[in-house]
C-alpha cells in the first residue's frame, strides 16, 4: 500500500528501540519454536509412524511379558490379515558405556515388505534382508546419529541374551525419525543354540496388517478372544493407540512445556505493547497533524497497528529462523534416543512450527498494537493540539 513507506519510516525512527524490540521478540519466538518441537515430535511420531491398518498385539500383562511363538501362525490364519510379523526385543548395545541407544529387535524377514509397505523400504534392500541371515534394517535416525550407511558391518553385544551378534546393514528405513534396528530372528535363535542356551521360543509383540481399516476392530476382537483362556492373554490395539499410550506418561511434561510456551508468548505481548505505547506516546503531536491534514481515524489506527505487526513479524521471522540454528546445537548435545524425553527430544523444527512461530508473532503484534493505536486514533485533534501546544 502507498502508506507503507510511512509505516516503515516510523519503525526506523528509533533504530535502537526497533532493534531491541525485534530482538526480544525474535528470542522469544525462537524459544517458542524450540519448545513446540517437543510435543510436535510426539505428534509426528503418531501421524507418520502409525498406520491405520496396523495392529499391535502384545501380552496383556505388559510389554516385557512374552507370548508363545505359536500365536504368530494362529494370527496369520485369521481372515482379513494380510501379513503379520513378530518383534522380539534383543536389547543389544553398540557402545557398552552408552548402553542401549537405539531399539533393536529380532523379526521374521519375509513379511516386512507387506506389513510395513508404507515405510518405503527399497525392494532390493528387502530382498537382501531376506537373503542374508546376518542382515539388518536400520532406521534413518540411527543411521544419521551413528554415522552408518548401508553396507557397513557392526556388532551388538547382548545384555539380556548372553550372545553377541554381528550384522551387515543391508537396508534403510527412509525416515529420519525412525530409530529401529531389525534383524532376522533365526540368527538370534541359532546363536543361542550354539551357545547352549536353548532357542528362541517366545516372541515380544506381533504387528498385524489388515486389508481394510474397517476390519481393524473385528480382527482385534478376534485375536483377543482367540487367546482369552490361554496361558498368555493378549491385548490388541491399533498402532496409533499403542504409540500414544507408550508416551502418555509424558503428558504431564508436555503440559508443563505448553504452559511455559504460553508464558513466553504472553511475554512477547507485553514487550511489543510496551514499545508500541512508547512510540505512539512520543508522536501524539504528529498524529494530530496527520488528522488535521485529513487522515481519517481508521487510517491512523491501521497504520499504527501495521507498524506493530511489521515489527513483530520481523522479529518473529528472525526468531523462527534462529530456532533452526539452535536445534543444530541441541542435536550435537542430546545424544541418545532413549533419554528421558523419547520422541519429545527430537528437536526438529518443521515448516509447520516455523509458520506457527511467525503467525504467533504477527498475531501478538496485532494485539499489542491495538490499544495504543486505538487511543491515538480516538484522541480529539483539537484536544491534542490544546494539550501539546
Amino acid at each position: 500500500m502507498k502508506f507503507l513507506p510511512l509505516v516503515w519510516r516510523n519503525l526506523a525512527r528509533n533504530p535502537l528501540r526497533t532493534a531491541l524490540t525485534a530482538g526480544a521478540i525474535g528470542l522469544a519466538i525462537a524459544l517458542v519454536c524450540l519448545l513446540l518441537t517437543m510435543p510436535n515430535g510426539l505428534d509426528v511420531l503418531l501421524e507418520r509412524a502409525a498406520s491405520n491398518t496396523r495392529i499391535v498385539v502384545h501380552n496383556e500383562a505388559g510389554l516385557v511379558y512374552p507370548l508363545p511363538y505359536a500365536y504368530l501362525q494362529k494370527i496369520r490364519s485369521l481372515p482379513g490379515v494380510v501379513g503379520a510379523a513378530s518383534w522380539s526385543w534383543y536389547g543389544g548395545v553398540f557402545e557398552i558405556e552408552k548402553g542401549v541407544t537405539f531399539p533393536n529387535f529380532a523379526v521374521e524377514p519375509e513379511p516386512i515388505g507387506t506389513v510395513w509397505a508404507d515405510w518405503g523400504i527399497d525392494a532390493k534392500q528387502l530382498e537382501d534382508f531376506r537373503r542374508y541371515r546376518d542382515g539388518a534394517i536400520v532406521g534413518g535416525a540411527t543411521l544419521k546419529r551413528q554415522g552408518w550407511k548401508v553396507g557397513d558391518r557392526i556388532t551388538l553385544k547382548g545384555t539380556l541374551y548372553p550372545v553377541d551378534l554381528q550384522f551387515r546393514i543391508v537396508a534403510e528405513i527412509p525416515n529420519d525419525r525412525a530409530p529401529f534396528l531389525l534383524f532376522q530372528r533365526e540368527y538370534l535363535d541359532q546363536a543361542l543354540r550354539a551357545a547352549g542356551r536353548g532357542g528362541l521360543d517366545t516372541l515380544g509383540i506381533v504387528y498385524v496388517r489388515v486389508d481394510d481399516p474397517a476390519r481393524v476392530a473385528p480382527v482385534m476382537a478376534q485375536i483377543d478372544t482367540m487367546f482369552k483362556n490361554s496361558e498368555a492373554q493378549t491385548a490388541s490395539e491399533t498402532e496409533k493407540s499403542y504409540f500414544s499410550s507408550f508416551f502418555s506418561m509424558l503428558s504431564g511434561f508436555v503440559t508443563i512445556i505448553l504452559i511455559v510456551t504460553g508464558l513466553v508468548a504472553l511475554c512477547i505481548v507485553f514487550i511489543a505493547a510496551n514499545t508500541a505505547s512508547m512510540s505512539v506516546r512520543e508522536r501524539l503531536g504528529e498524529i494530530a497533524v496527520l488528522k488535521a491534514l485529513g487522515f481519517k481515524r481508521r487510517l491512523i489506527f491501521t497504520t499504527l497497528v501495521a507498524e506493530a505487526v511489521i515489527l513483530s513479524g520481523l522479529g518473529g521471522a528472525l526468531g523462527a529462523l534462529a530456532s533452526l540454528g539452535l536445534t543444530q546445537l541441541l542435536h550435537a548435545r542430546a545424544s541418545s534416543w532413549n533419554s528421558s524425553l523419547g520422541p519429545l527430544g527430537s528437536f526438529i523444527v518443521t515448516e509447520t512450527i516455523l509458520v506457527q512461530g511467525l503467525f504467533l508473532a504477527l498475531f501478538v503484534g496485532m494485539i499489542s498494537g491495538v490499544v495504543p493505536a486505538l487511543g491515538a486514533a480516538r484522541r480529539s485533534v483539537a484536544e491534542t493540539l490544546r494539550e501539546v501546544f
Binding site: L16, R17, L20, T21, G23, A24, I25, L27, A28, A30, L31, L34, E60, A61, G62, L63, V64, Y65, V93, I96, K98, G99, V100, K157, T159, L160, P162, G198, T202, A232, F247, S248, M249, L250, G252, F253, T255, I256, I259, V260, L263, V264, C267, I268, F270, I271, A273, N274, S277, M278, E282, L326, L330, R333, A334, N338, S339, S340, G342, G345
Partner: protein
C-alpha cells in the same frame, strides 16, 4: 549520591510502562523457576544417597537393571565371595533382584509401565534408604507387594490393604515405603520368585545388589566379579550407577538453561527499551542534576537502581506466581511422569524449592543489570549543556 526516593519516585510516575516491564520480567521468572523446579525435582529422583559401600552387579554391557540377566548359579557363587558384608544373623548382604515392567492401569483408564522389583527380604538391609512407613514388608511366597510412595494412589488398587492387578495375577498391598524421594519410590516390590514365575522368566534375576563389608576392598571385589570367566558380569559402585542414570537428565539442564538465557535476554531488551525512553524523556532533569553538581557515578547508580528495582519487583511477582502455579500444576497432574531408561514411569512431584527461587532471583538481577547498563551509562555520559538544550 542521589536519594533512593528519586529512583523509586520515577518508577511510580510512569506506572503503566513500569508495570509492563515488571510483567515481562515476572513472566520470565515464572517460566524459568517453574522449569527449574521441574528439573530439580527430576534430579532429586535420580540422585539418592545410594550407599557408597554398595555394589550393583549386572550383566556386562547392561546400563540399567531393567535390561540385564544374571543366572542363579552366578548369584549363588557371588554371595559367598570374600568381602561381601554379613548381616546380624551371618547371612550375606547380597540381594538378588528381578526387574520387570508390567502394565498398571490408572483410574482414568490410562496405562503405564511400572518398575516392579522382585526381591528377597534381605533387600531392605542392602537398600538402606528404603523405609517402610505404613504396613509391613512383604512375606515371601505370599502374593504380597509393597508400594513406593510415588505409586500409592496412582493406579487402580494401589492402596494399603487393597489388591492390585498386574502381570498374570493379583497381589495384596501390605506396605508403603519411602526412599528419600529417589526413583525407588516409583517402584513396586514383590517376591522375586513369584515375580519370575509370573513373568515366565528363564533367568531368575536381572541383577544383584550387595553391601561390601567394612574394611574390605570394594574395588578389589568389583574386579574379581568382573574378571570371573564363568559369567559375563560387571560390578560397579551403586553411587556411580545412580550418577550415570542422572546423566540422562542432562538434556533437561540444557533446555532449562536455554530457556533462561533466551527469555532472559529478551526480557533484558524489553527493560533496556523502557529505560532508554525514560532517559530520553528526562534529559532536562538529568542535565539539571549534573549542572547542580551530581557526579556521573551518581546518575549511573540511580538509573541502575531503577532497573534493578524493576527486576526485583518482577522477581517478587514472578516467584509468587511460580510457587502458586507449581502447586496448582502438581495438584492437578498429581505428579509429573517421566519415562526412565527402563521405560517405566518415574513419578516426579513438581516442587518449586529454594534453589529454584534463588535461580530465578539471579536471573532477574542479571536482567536488571544487563538491561539497565546501557541506558544508565548513556544518562551518566550526558553533558549538562546538551541535555538542557531544548530537544
Amino acid at each position: 549520591m542521589l536519594p533512593l526516593r528519586y529512583a523509586l519516585g520515577n518508577l511510580l510516575a510512569r506506572r503503566a510502562r513500569t508495570a509492563l516491564t515488571v510483567s515481562v520480567i515476572a513472566l520470565v521468572v515464572v517460566a524459568s523457576t517453574l522449569f527449574s523446579g521441574l528439573v530439580s525435582s527430576l534430579k532429586r529422583t535420580f540422585v539418592t544417597s545410594g550407599n557408597p559401600r554398595n555394589l550393583i552387579v549386572m550383566r556386562k554391557g547392561a546400563t540399567n537393571d531393567g535390561s540385564s540377566a544374571v543366572p542363579l548359579e552366578a548369584f549363588q557363587a557371588l554371595r559367598f565371595f570374600e568381602g561381601v558384608a554379613r548381616g546380624p544373623n551371618g547371612q550375606p548382604l547380597a540381594s538378588p533382584e528381578l526387574v520387570v515392567q508390567p502394565f498398571f492401569h490408572t483410574p482414568g483408564g490410562g496405562r503405564e509401565n511400572v518398575l516392579v522389583r522382585g526381591v528377597e527380604p534381605v533387600a531392605l538391609a542392602v537398600h538402606d534408604e528404603v523405609k517402610i512407613t505404613q504396613g509391613r514388608m512383604l512375606a515371601p511366597s505370599s502374593g504380597e507387594v509393597i508400594l513406593g510412595r510415588g505409586v500409592e494412589g496412582r493406579y487402580v488398587g494401589a492402596q494399603l490393604g487393597q489388591t492390585i492387578r498386574f502381570g498374570h495375577g493379583t497381589w495384596k498391598v501390605v506396605g508403603i515405603f519411602e526412599a528419600d524421594r529417589s526413583s525407588l519410590e516409583s517402584e513396586v516390590w514383590a517376591d522375586v520368585r513369584e515375580l519370575g514365575d509370573d513373568a515366565k522368566r528363564s533367568v531368575p534375576y536381572s541383577g544383584v545388589r550387595m553391601r561390601v563389608a567394612d574394611g574390605a576392598d570394594l574395588d578389589a571385589l568389583a574386579h574379581r566379579i568382573g574378571d570371573d570367566s564363568r559369567w559375563a558380569l560387571e560390578a560397579s559402585r551403586e553411587t556411580d550407577y545412580y550418577a550415570k542414570q542422572a546423566e540422562s537428565a542432562n538434556v533437561f539442564y540444557v533446555i532449562a538453561i536455554g530457556l533462561a538465557v533466551l527469555s532472559g535476554i529478551g526480557a533484558a531488551f524489553g527493560a533496556t527499551n523502557t529505560l532508554y525512553a525514560a532517559v530520553q524523556s528526562r534529559r532536562a532533569e538529568i542535565g539539571t542534576l549534573r549542572a547542580l553538581g551530581f557526579s556521573r557515578l551518581a546518575i549511573l547508580v540511580s538509573f541502575l537502581v531503577e532497573s534493578l528495582t524493576i527486576a526485583l519487583a518482577g522477581f517478587a511477582v514472578g516467584s509468587l506466581v511460580a510457587a502458586l502455579l507449581g502447586r496448582l500444576v502438581s495438584w492437578w497432574l498429581g505428579g509429573i511422569a517421566f519415562g526412565s531408561q527402563t521405560f517405566t514411569t518415574n513419578v516426579v512431584q513438581l516442587r518449586v524449592g529454594a534453589v529454584d527461587l534463588a535461580y530465578g532471583l539471579c536471573l532477574s538481577l542479571a536482567i536488571g543489570l544487563l538491561g539497565g547498563l546501557a541506558p544508565a551509562s548513556r544518562a551518566a555520559r550526558m553533558r549538562p549543556v546538551e541535555a538542557l538544550r531544548k530537544a
